[in-house]
Symmetry: C2
Subunit: 402 residues, 2 copies
């Protein structure tokens, strides 16, 4: 189960070879297709299913790291494309890697930069070799390939890094979906090769990972557009390349939600049961619950943090747009069922005022609440799995008969 | 020393009269002209000399109330002009006053709105009656008089409120300075009259101030431009009107710093020794130390919070402009001698990155540090006074002889 790798370490003048393990994944309980697991990384354990807040530029916008710790965040997501441009991989590497740079001792996952680069549209050119793109900041020209993306992610030093893939656009025809999927597979092999040859270059110093001598883990990404047969083939062949975890990419790109679910459900069948499964860029609170029930272990999404900045708040009573005048006189907490520090202290009229007055504290407090809501949602799902409850059906069964 | 006021309270069908006290001020130690005191307000005790962070719109920009508590903030300043426009006094009053609205159980001081209104320049018109002005937000027309400013400040319900004064522009000729000072005195009397007749309308509910049954306190403001004789007259006649505390206003309006100090020093002589003295809108870390040594007990300034938003940080080693490229590779804390949560956790390159990337967390962390620095500075001054040290002279005396 555990993947060991030989790592050469210089020790004085002699060189010693030790065995290094990347991540471990243990499934602690199952309920239907859902699993409650534990992901052991170089920077701590993560209980799954897990929602990973997005910290694009080495910061979850507006929220300090101690508050993220208080919220129970065990793993953050960083965006390689953005960090590559600012502050630059070399600067982060020199300062000891992303954990030390941003003073975050817990786990980090970085994406490969592929998704962001593909979002640039007119500013990019894709070849077999890689992607040439222009910075959205200053128009400067850059090149990302599987090798360059690995180099960047090793330099940043996240615990989990992602193979460089092509996110197939939607809609696309069958030929295009296949060609794109095939290239992603070739890029997966190139990513793995570079990673295996260079993973010892991770900038962690010995003391920070002394206990386990763990290395980074590289996850593969399943593509294949919206065609289930291609998804099956992509999954099987990506598993054939061999990774300690697998992501489902290329979704939430404009397709209907029912199609997203269909693709996820059919792809999961072709992924190994004992490896973590990561669904990228999903979703609403309802969706993260639904996907966890299908057997997804990891998810990330900008929705809770981005919506917070627009005054859209998720609560146990549904969505609230705090900018609405109706909350001016409604002197109740944002969510009476929420235990977060925002709901415990502040009222809807105050949050409404902060938002209307364009106060920075609005973004801070809204983001803390939304993240708390997402993390609580995931904890509840995990708890249900551990109790062996299948939330939907058991609720129906326990209803009194008419 | 303590000012008692008769307060009528409805109790069932009967009406009982109780004695209510506003604030108390006790001087605990003196060192030269400096005093270490304790100001007892309806919402807690404040150790003086004190620096009051500015929370213009019921928020210290970017910093949540629990962090302000952690920083040891005992009193915040709110701006009546801004709160009057947004969210409006009536809304705050209905929701129980500013303390409850912003979930801040400690003390608050509001200015009278005069200074902000006078800053509007072309948008205002001053008569004996009051000031007609246009909102900087939507151009709507408003009127503030001593009575209206009192009504607003009673509705907001701060612990300490300020008489409505005219901030004399700089430079101004003698006749103008005198006329303005005279009007401020007439407005002080009108402010006091309205306040005494209406202070029972404060929106605190009984339970929140049950212990002391304290009322709001109204402070008078000394004006008189830059002419020392007028300042003396203004001080003496304002003291003649009678307030539980006195502010020195109309400074930091463009005059040289040496003149500010001269005016403060000469005005203090004419203020009662047993009442708190509040110097409005001052200043740099060096200035707040200097004024505390002259016998000032309370100060407020936007400098630490505003400078933070521009990346200007106050440290024990001097000012730092965190945007400078030199901090990119300098992997040390912002201020190695500071115990604040920012300096304890984050490095200069990270703070520089957040600022350069325009991340909201830059403002949050910079503000926390600058406030911490100001509050620590004041605590150190207070400690010196309690130890009986006159920082300047005693240092000189204790130096070894050559």
């Amino acid at each position: 189960m555990i993947q060991y790798t030989r790592v050469e370490r210089a020790s004085g003048t002699a060189s010693v070879t030790i065995l290094a393990v990347s991540i471990e994944f243990h499934i602690e309980a199952r309920s239907g297709a859902a699993r409650a697991g534990r992901l052991i990384t170089p920077h701590g354990d993560i209980e799954t299913p897990v929602f990973m807040p997005v910290g694009t530029l080495a910061s979850v916008k507006g929220v300090s790291q101690d508050i993220l710790e208080e919220l129970g965040v065990r793993i953050l997501l960083g965006n390689t494309y953005h960090l590559y441009l600012r502050p630059g991989v070399e600067q982060v590497r020199k300062l000891g890697g992303l954990h030390r740079f941003m003073a975050w001792p817990r786990a980090i996952l970085t994406d490969s930069g592929g998704f962001q680069v593909f979002s640039l549209n007119e500013l990019r050119k894709v070849t077999e070799d890689g992607v040439t793109f222009r910075s959205h900041l200053d128009g400067s020209s850059h090149f990302l390939s599987p090798e360059a993306a690995m180099q960047a992610q090793i330099g940043l030093g996240a615990d989990i890094i992602m193979a460089f893939d092509e996110c197939t656009e939607y809609p696309a025809d069958s030929a295009r979906m296949r060609a794109s999927m095939e290239m992603t597979l070739r890029w997966a092999e190139r990513s793995k090769k570079y990673f295996e040859e260079h993973k010892h270059e991770v900038p962690w110093n010995g003391s920070r990972v002394a206990a386990a001598e763990r290395t980074q883990a590289l996850f593969g990404i399943v593509q294949g557009g919206m065609e289930l047969q291609l998804r099956k083939e992509s999954a099987e062949r990506t598993v054939g390349v061999g990774f300690p975890g697998y992501a489902i990419g290329g979704l939430s790109v404009g397709e209907p939600r029912s199609l997203t679910r269909e693709v996820v459900e059919s792809t999961i069948e072709h992924l190994p049961a004992d490896k973590p499964r990561y669904l990228m860029g999903v979703g609403t609170p309802e969706e993260i619950v639904a996907y966890a029930k299908l057997g997804i272990d990891m998810m990330d999404c900008v929705l809770p943090t981005r919506a917070a900045r627009h005054g859209l708040l998720f609560t146990s009573e549904g969505k609230i747009s705090i900018k609405q005048a109706r909350y001016t006189g409604d002197d109740s907490p944002l969510d009476p069922n929420c235990g977060c520090k925002v709901c415990q202290r502040y009222s809807r009229p105050y949050l409404r005022h902060l938002y209307a007055a364009n106060e920075v504290l609005a973004q801070v407090l809204n983001t803390i609440h939304n993240l708390s809501f997402y993390l609580d949602t995931m904890r509840t799902v995990r708890h249900s799995i551990l109790l062996g409850k299948e939330t939907g059906s058991s609720c129906v069964q326990s209803e009194p008969k008419p």
